[in-house]
Symmetry: C2
Subunit: 514 residues, 2 copies
C-alpha cells in the first residue's frame, strides 16, 4: 500500500568510539532495510530537528517518512509511536471544498468536513476568477484565499479529533485544472485561451510549508495530475475511484460539477472530454437552485392527472431551494404531466394552480410560500428551465460525440458511473426521460459519490494509486469540444425532450407536436 | 562528466489544439532524451518562472538542470544560451576561505578569491567556536557569519568576470566537519564530546536560497561528506584530488591545517586519522607565525659555522613573520647549527648575536628590527619552539601509529602527497631532519597544493567525482587518536630531534647528548 507519509519504527545502537557513524547517517542506515534499500534523503529544513530528536530519543523511536516519486524522505522523528498519523484528502472544488481526515497507518476515516470555496468573493465561476487573477496581485490574492480556506478546513478536521492543524502529515488534492493552478500559485492565463494550455499538468509534489499551509511543515502535498485545461485532477481521481482504467470491459464515467466531464474506456484505452453542462444543476445558477444539503428539494413527483406536486427535502427541512436531482425529477415530471412541451417551454393553462406569471414569462411553484423555509415560494422559472435544457442537451451531445468518436454504442457499455452529489441523488430514469442520459436499463447506472474525494483518499494511502494515476494521464486521449463541429450539431438535436430523434429513446412517452 | 548544474538546449513544438501538453510537461518531455530517460522534477518555487520563460522563449532555448543524487531537476529556462555557467568551488577553512569560480560548461577557471573566515571574531579556533555556538543564538550568529562571508566571496568572484552573485549557479563546499555544521546551521555540540559524533556526515544537497546565500536561488549546494568529527569533507576532497582511492599501490596523504589529517590506502582500502599537530605551523599560534602570504619568511638557511641567517620572504617584501615552511627550515637549521639541542631547547651561548633573553627564556632573532616590516624583530621564542616540537612529534606519531595499524612500512609507500599551503612551501628534507616526516627520499613527497579546493572543483564538474566520494566515505576506516594509547607512547618518543630512536633517521646527523 505505502501511504504518502508513513511511520517506521527504528531501533539503532547508540554511537560509540568504535561506531562513530553520524546521527543522521545512523538513522538512514537503520531505515534502509525497511525502505527496500532505497536511501532516504532529509531536507535541510528538517535535518537539525530530526537528528536532535533521534538523539534525545536515545536512537529508538519512530521515523516519519514521505514516499515521494524521487524516493523516500525522512521528515520527522518521534519518541513515542503515534496512535495515528492524520493525512487530509481534499476535493478542491470551484464552489465547495470537501475533505476527509484519514489515518495513514490504518486507512481509517478520522473526520470529515466541508467549506464553501471562499474565492467566490473574487468571482462565482472559474472564468471570472481567471480574469481576476490577471489583475496586479490577483493571483496572489486568489492563492492566499484558497490556502486560507484549506487551513480552516484543516482546523475543522483537526478539532474533531482533538489535534492541531500542524499534526496533519500529508495532503492529497484533487481539483480541476484551474483550482490546481490557484492552489500552486500558477498563472491560469492560458487555461481559457486557445489552445487552452495549462502551465503544468503534473506538478511534482511539494511541501505544505512551501504553500503557506499550517500543516506539519514536512507534510508532502500531492496534487492529482490533470490532462488539460478542462480536464483536471478531480476526473483522474474519479477514474481511480471507479477503477475503470483496470477493467477489461468498456465503462463510462460521468461527473457533473461546474462542468460535465466524461470518460470512456477500459484498461487499454481511455478517451475523455468535458463541456459546460453543469451550471443549471448546481447551486448559484438556477434562481432557486442550491447544493444538495438540508432544506434542498431532492425529489419531486407530479401526478400526471392532477399535476399535484409531492416533494421531499434533505433532512425533511422546510424547503429552501432545489438541488440538481430535484430539478431533474421536477422537469421530468413536468414533461410527463405535459406542463412543459418537448422544447422545454411552459404550456399556458396546463397547470393553472401552479403556473404563475413573472413578467413576460411563466414560473412553476414547487412549494408555496407558506411551506417554504424563507416565506417565499420555491419556483422553477422559464429561465431556469432554459438553462436546464441547455445543460441536458450538452450532456447528451457530449456522450454521443464521445462514444461516436471511438465507435462504441451505448449498449456496449458494461457500466456508467455517475459521480458527484448529482450522481448520488438523481434517479437515472428521470434523467433518461429528459434525454440527458441514454435510454438504458437503470441498473447500468451506478452512483459513485464524490469520486474526486475518494480518489484523493487512495492517493494518500496507496503508492500504487499514485503511480497508476501518473500512467493513466499518459493514456488518456482528450477530445476538445470547444472547437468540435459534430458536438455543436448534436447539441442542437438534443435541445428537445427527450430528443428530436425519438427512436433514440424508445422507453420515453412522446406527446407529439404542441 | 556531468557537472552539478548544466545547460541543455531545448527545441520544442509550440502547443496546439492537437497537442495540448502543458508547458512544463512539454519541457520535461523535450529534456527526457537528453537526460538518459530520467524524468526531471521542477521545484514549486521555480515552476512559474520556468514555465513562463519557456513560453516567452517560444519553446526554444536553454534549460538549466541540476544533477542531483535523486535525479535531474530543472531550475531555470533561458532564451539565449549563456556563454558560461559559473559555479563556485569553496574550501571552507577555519581561518581562511579560498574559492574558485569555474565555468560549468567548459570546466575553465573564471576567477579566484580568498577571504579570512570572519567567524574568527567569535573564536580563533574550532573549539572556542563550538562553545560560542552553544550560547543562546550562538549557532545562528555563527551560521549567518559564514554565509555572509561566502556571499562576499561570491561577490568578489562575480565582480572579476562582471556578473552578479546571483549568476552563480552551483556551489560545492569542502570544509572540516565543524565548518560544515556551521554552514548548514547544524548544532556542533557533540563534535567535541566523546564519542565525537557529528549530526550528519553526508547531508543531502540543498539550495543556495535555503541557506540565505545570494547565489541563484536554484543553485544546488553540495557539501562534501565527512567521516567523523575530526575528519571532514576537506580531506575527502584531498583524496579525490590525489586520486589515491583509485591507485593499486599504497599511498599516503598528509594535510596540515589546523589539524594534521592523514590518510593511508589504495583502491582497495583506506584508513585515516587526525590529530592536533598543526597549530604551530599556522598563523595565529606561534607569536611570529603567519599564513603563507606577502612578507612571510618562507625559507631560512643558517650557516652551521657562522650561524648567520639567510631568509627569503614571499614577494620579497620586508619580513612580517614566519609561515609554516619558514619555521620548519629555521628549526632544522637551528638543529644542524646546534643552536638548539635534540630536545628542542636553545643552547645558551651557541649563537650570542642572535639569541636574546626574553624574561626567563631565550628567543632567536631571525630578522632584526631594522630589516622587518613593522620595526620589531622577527623572532622565534622558546614557547614557539616548544609548540613546534609538539606539532612535529604529533605528526610523526600519527604517521607511525597509522602505518603500524595496517602493517605497512614507510618504505612500501609509492608516494606521500603533502597537501595545503604547508605542502606547497615546505622542503620535505627539512621536515625529515626535524623528524616530522619519515626519512625517505625527497622525491617520494609530492606537494598537491590546496587539495580541498581541487576536490571541490571536481565535485562541481563531474558526476563521477560526486558518486566516487559517496562510495569513498563508506570505505574509510577512521582511527580515533584521542583515546589511542599507542599514539601517546609514540608521541613521547617523537619529542626529540629527529627521534629518540636514531635508527629511524639514518640520514640525519646526530650530535649526541648535550
Amino acid at each position: 500500500m505505502l501511504p504518502l507519509a508513513q511511520c517506521i519504527s527504528v531501533k539503532a545502537q547508540p554511537p560509540s568510539l568504535r561506531d562513530n557513524t553520524a546521527d543522521l547517517d545512523r538513522l538512514k542506515k537503520a531505515l534502509l532495510d525497511k525502505l527496500a534499500g532505497r536511501m532516504p534523503v532529509v531536507p535541510l529544513s528538517r535535518l537539525s530537528i530530526i537528528a536532535g530528536e533521534f538523539r534525545r530519543a536515545k536512537f529508538n523511536g519512530t521515523a516519519v517518512v514521505n514516499n515521494l516519486p524521487t524516493g523516500p524522505e525522512i521528515v520527522d522523528f518521534l519518541t513515542e509511536a503515534p496512535v495515528y498519523l492524520p493525512g487530509m484528502a481534499l476535493d478542491l472544488g470551484t464552489t465547495h471544498l470537501e475533505a476527509n481526515l484519514v489515518d495513514l497507518i490504518s486507512g481509517r476515516l478520522l473526520a470529515s468536513a466541508d467549506r464553501e470555496n471562499s474565492q467566490i468573493k473574487y468571482g462565482a465561476d472559474i472564468l471570472s476568477r481567471i480574469h481576476f487573477a490577471a489583475k496586479s496581485d490577483g493571483l496572489e490574492k486568489m492563492h492566499r484565499e484558497i490556502v486560507h480556506c484549506i487551513n480552516l478546513l484543516g482546523r475543522d478536521l483537526a478539532e474533531q479529533i482533538h489535534v492541531q492543524t500542524s499534526d496533519i502529515r500529508a495532503l492529497s488534492v484533487s481539483g480541476n485544472t484551474t483550482m490546481a493552478h490557484f492552489f500552486l500559485k500558477l498563472d491560469p492565463y492560458w487555461l481559457c485561451r486557445e489552445p487552452y494550455i495549462p502551465l503544468a499538468n503534473a506538478p511534482d509534489p511539494c511541501k505544505a510549508s512551501d504553500l503557506g499551509l499550517e500543516f506539519h511543515p514536512g507534510a508532502p502535498v500531492w496534487v492529482l495530475p490533470s490532462v488539460g485545461s478542462y480536464f483536471g485532477g478531480d476526473l483522474i481521481s474519479g477514474i481511480l475511484a471507479s477503477g475503470m482504467d483496470e477493467q477489461e470491459k468498456t465503462c463510462m464515467l460521468i461527473d457533473v460539477g461546474t462542468n460535465a466531464e466524461v470518460i470512456l474506456g477500459n484498461r487499454d484505452w481511455l478517451i475523455a472530454c468535458a463541456g459546460a453542462a453543469g451550471p443549471a444543476l448546481e447551486g448559484g445558477v438556477a434562481r432557486m437552485g442550491m447544493r444538495a444539503g438540508p432544506g434542498a428539494i431532492e425529489h419531486v413527483e407530479i401526478d400526471p392527472q392532477t399535476r399535484k406536486v409531492h416533494y421531499q427535502t434533505i433532512g425533511n427541512q422546510p424547503p429552501e431551494g432545489i438541488c440538481g436531482s430535484g430539478i431533474i425529477d421536477l422537469v421530468a415530471g413536468l414533461y410527463l404531466a405535459q406542463v412543459i412541451d418537448m422544447r422545454g417551454k411552459f404550456r399556458h393553462g396546463s397547470a393553472p394552480e401552479q403556473l404563475v406569471r413573472e413578467g413576460d414569462e411563466y414560473a412553476f411553484v414547487v412549494a408555496p410560500s407558506e411551506e417554504s423555509a424563507k416565506g417565499k415560494p420555491v419556483v422553477l422559472s422559464q429561465v431556469d428551465l432554459d438553462a436546464l435544457m441547455r445543460s441536458k442537451a450538452a450532456m447528451y451531445a457530449i456522450l454521443t460525440t464521445l462514444t461516436n468518436q471511438v465507435g462504441v454504442g451505448f449498449d456496449q457499455l458494461q457500466r456508467i458511473y455517475v459521480a458527484g452529489a448529482f450522481g448520488q441523488h438523481i434517479n437515472p430514469r428521470q434523467a433518461v426521460i429528459l434525454g440527458m442520459l441514454p435510454d438504458l436499463s437503470p441498473d447500468i447506472y451506478e452512483p459513485v459519490g464524490n469520486s474526486s474525494l475518494a480518489g484523493a483518499k487512495q492517493i494518500l494511502l496507496d503508492q500504487n494509486a499514485r503511480s497508476r494515476c501518473l500512467r493513466l494521464v499518459k493514456k488518456i486521449t482528450y477530445m476538445e469540444l470547444n472547437v468540435n463541429q459534430e458536438f455543436m450539431i448534436r447539441f442542437s438535436g438534443s435541445r428537445f425532450i427527450p430528443h428530436t430523434d425519438h427512436s433514440l429513446f424508445p422507453s420515453v412517452p412522446f406527446f407529439g407536436e404542441t
